[in-house]
Amino acid sequence: MSPDILLRIGGATVDTIYMVAVAGLIGSLIGLPIGIFLATSGKGELFPAPTLNRIVGLIVNATRSTPFIILVVAIIPFTRLLTGTSIGTKAAIVPLTIATIPFVARLVEAAIREIDKGLIEAARAMGATPMQIVFKVLLAEARPALTLALTMTAVSLIGYSAMVGAVGGGGLGDLGIRYGYQRFMPDVMLVVVIVLIVLVQLVQSAGDGLARRFDKKNRKT
């Protein structure tokens, strides 16, 4: 492989990390409160709003069931409006973020619903406000599960980010398709795949380690 290709692989790796980081951050920041809302707004729960809960749930499901590649194409006008372009790394961040939001929301909802209802009752009995219950009980108790959820999000995003390459999104996927596939350079393809595997491994190990540290429930002393 020429040094030029190696340089391109390096650059594409940085692009991928950049896309995953930005889309992951923005998507999680929006997805987290939506997930909390979904987990606490059912009938008789902390912020009862069953109708809105159903509507938000429906939108989340609709976004999640749209195949990612179709989502990318479908929101091109929106992407162009936001970034001024529909190709390249910056443009790819938009559909990646949109796909991350419902993904994170459902994972957060599941993590919070796992929490023993007795803890909510105990906090209510202490005179906690619903907001105090969210921050001091739900988020604190769900921290290990939330860490794993965000890890899973990052791993999925790495996969999605390779997919936006198919529509000129930049990053490792883009490189793999243009060089590895279209120019018949299987060695480039192999390196791209290996870099992706390494990235996923790193993210997963870091997430698992962090979640273990946060988990005081199943700890062995």
């Binding site: 009995a125 005179g127 001091k136 604190a140 108790e141 005081k216 199943n218 700890r219």
Partner: protein, 360 residues
């Protein structure tokens, strides 16, 4: 809350008053509409340890949750320190809850917080600053005997230790009333005893009123001064614990009492028991004696005055609320003459008797 205690205590002096409280749950999902509480009236005296006992599903959980507004009554009033809980808005309710401690069957501790952090939680919720929290939590750790465990997490502790944290947490805001929701039901007998001793000590030292619900007569016997028996959403019997134990009137109370060790008949006798005597049969009678009677040589006097064979079938000597109490099951001839002499003896000595049946 015997009837006399009810009269002596005006509702304003009581820690908690249930006044004609009913609670209905509307039908939802697979479960049909359900009446958890049916016109319950009850007074919890200030400074008492009052027990509410009933089988599961009798309505006791709902009853205790009305006190801190976790449930709202469908009708009737619940007064805590004279304040109608049902009439409070959310903010006022939160203030009230900060002054009522509660402990739970499954402890409900935050696994993500240390022992210290768990006890500090209600103080953080009430907006206390860090230094004041520290000053409040330390003595509580000492009180429940967990000072050396303050940095541990609940998962590292035993059930009894977890409930001690639960108690310390409930006491953190210095409440005047402590609600105990089956607090010892998940614990082994020995640990149960130590938790009950702790509750007793808190009641005596801090003057805290304790309202506890349980399905275990042992718990009621060990710590309560007053008891109410609840069945199918209704209070079927209530009074001073000693009176209810020694003179149980309602069938449910008797059934719950029969679970206590010493009050069960040996199986062979229980199987042979008949409702009606045949000639030559022997009557099986439960004698209950307490106070001064517990200290007299009753058996030898009984044998002398009955002038016939008296068999002892089962017996137990115990204490209820610090008062000595004995229960003895004896058998003697069921013929009119022997029975008459025995009954005269019982009456003269102020013994409570209950004919359980007859055996050949």
């Amino acid at each position: 809350m015997s009837v006399s205690a009810l009269k002596a205590t005006s509702p304003a002096d009581a820690a908690v008053v249930f006044d004609g409280v009913s609670k209905h749950f509307p039908a939802s999902g697979q479960s049909g509409a359900f009446t958890a509480l049916d016109n319950v009236s009850l007074t919890v005296d200030r400074g008492s340890i009052t027990g509410i006992i009933g089988r599961s599903g009798a309505g006791k959980s709902t009853l205790i949750r009305l006190v801190n507004g976790l449930e709202k009554p469908s009708s009737g009033k619940v007064l805590v320190d004279g304040v109608d809980v049902g009439g409070l808005d959310e903010a006022a309710l939160r203030t009230l809850r900060r002054n009522v401690g509660m402990i739970f069957q499954h402890f409900n501790l935050l696994s993500s917080r240390t022992v210290f952090g768990n006890i500090a939680l209600p103080l953080e919720i009430s907006g206390m600053d860090k230094r004041a929290i520290e000053q409040r939590v330390r003595p509580l750790l000492d009180l429940v005997g967990l000072a050396d465990k303050h940095g541990r997490y609940p998962a590292e502790l035993s059930g009894g230790q977890k409930q001690r944290i639960g108690i310390a947490r409930a006491l953190a805001t210095e409440p005047k009333l402590l609600l105990s929701d089956e607090a010892t039901s998940a614990l082994d007998p020995e640990t149960t005893q130590s938790i009950l001793d702790l509750l007793k000590r808190i009641n005596a030292e801090l003057g805290l009123t304790v309202l506890l619900i349980t399905h275990e007569m042992e718990v009621v016997k060990a710590v309560t001064s007053d008891v109410a028996v609840i069945d199918h959403g209704r209070i079927v019997e209530r009074g001073h614990t000693f009176d209810v134990f020694t003179h149980p009137k309602h069938e449910t109370t008797r059934a719950l009492l029969s679970g206590l060790p010493g009050s069960k008949l040996p199986d062979a006798v229980a199987r042979a028991l008949k409702a009606q005597p045949a000639p030559g049969d022997r009557a099986v009678v439960r004698l209950t004696f307490f106070g001064a009677a517990a200290e007299r040589p009753l058996i030898s006097q009984l044998i002398k005055s009955v002038g016939a064979e008296v068999n002892i079938i089962a017996g137990t000597i115990d204490e209820i609320g610090g008062a000595p109490y004995g229960s003895l099951v004896v058998a003697y001839g069921a013929d009119a003459e022997t029975s008459g002499r025995a009954e005269r003896f019982f009456a003269e000595n102020g013994l409570v008797t209950e004919v359980l049946g007859y055996v050949a």
